[in-house]
Symmetry: C2
């Protein structure tokens, strides 16, 4: 048996909640060193003089931490969390070292495949919040989700004969 | 003197090109283990049986590698590459271990701040391509860019007097 949610389970308006992640100060810097080497992500002293007034996580680090929250949340999709794309990401407030983040998701749209393939596209809105309830990221993503397999009635009757 | 491009430099249609990054197989797995722990990003054998037919990088890893390409590209903005948000990301083709990626960017829109603040919003389209010229990511991002400071004529004349 597949463990996870099918297209049919992701009804519009359904909500999902994640666990939490603590933003590790060293990881803020090492992520930035590898992927987003800018002073306000790398160095406290330089960040103090920047528009952020202190060290902040790269938006891409926040996006990656949010993905981890989603993959390990209640939103467990049969076949995996396969993103076709992102329609929008906003970072309305900075993420600081030591912040405790969680994600809240809601199904916004749901449409079966036009080609008749056994899958559909589901649009999910995900908000990432810190320990004060401040929204640090808003994202809308399109996922590819398989349909629930139709039971094979013939096989079932063969099995019982 | 500030080293970098100002709002006035980012004229619509201007293009920028990045260097290259080689997608490291071990990093594909370790990034996934930390941020996107799904079988098709973690394990060759499991990935073979997935819809991808082999190991693929997380889309968030591709986005992060693209950010590194941008930060170190010709697109060096005065004050840093500060993203207000992303209007769209698509991952039209998988990124495989060993791929060699580069990014090509173009200025799509440019509007000065309505509030009269010395900055503007610039919309940049960035395409990430592999060694075969296949597009693996398309992204449109909104950046906050400072205006070129107006020279202080009085100070200059004081200096020369």
């Amino acid at each position: 048996m597949h463990d996870g949610l099918w297209f049919e389970d992701l009804t519009i308006g359904r909500t999902f909640r994640s666990g939490v992640v603590v933003v590790d100060p060293d990881r803020v810097k090492s992520f930035a060193a590898e992927f987003d080497p800018q002073p306000f992500h790398l160095d406290e002293a330089a960040a103090l003089g920047s528009r952020f007034g202190g060290l902040v996580a790269s938006g891409w680090h926040t996006a990656a931490m949010t993905m981890k929250l989603l993959v390990t949340s209640e939103l467990r999709i049969a076949g995996g969390l396969i993103g076709l794309g992102v329609e929008e990401i906003q970072w309305p407030a900075p993420v600081r070292p030591g912040d405790v983040l969680h994600a809240e998701s809601q199904v916004l749209e749901s449409r079966p495949s036009r080609s008749g393939a056994p899958q559909g596209v589901v649009v999910i809105g995900t908000t990432t919040l810190n320990q004060d309830g401040t929204v640090v990221q808003k994202m809308t993503a399109k996922l590819l989700v398989p349909r629930r397999p139709v039971p094979d009635v013939d096989a079932a009757s063969r099995g019982s004969s």
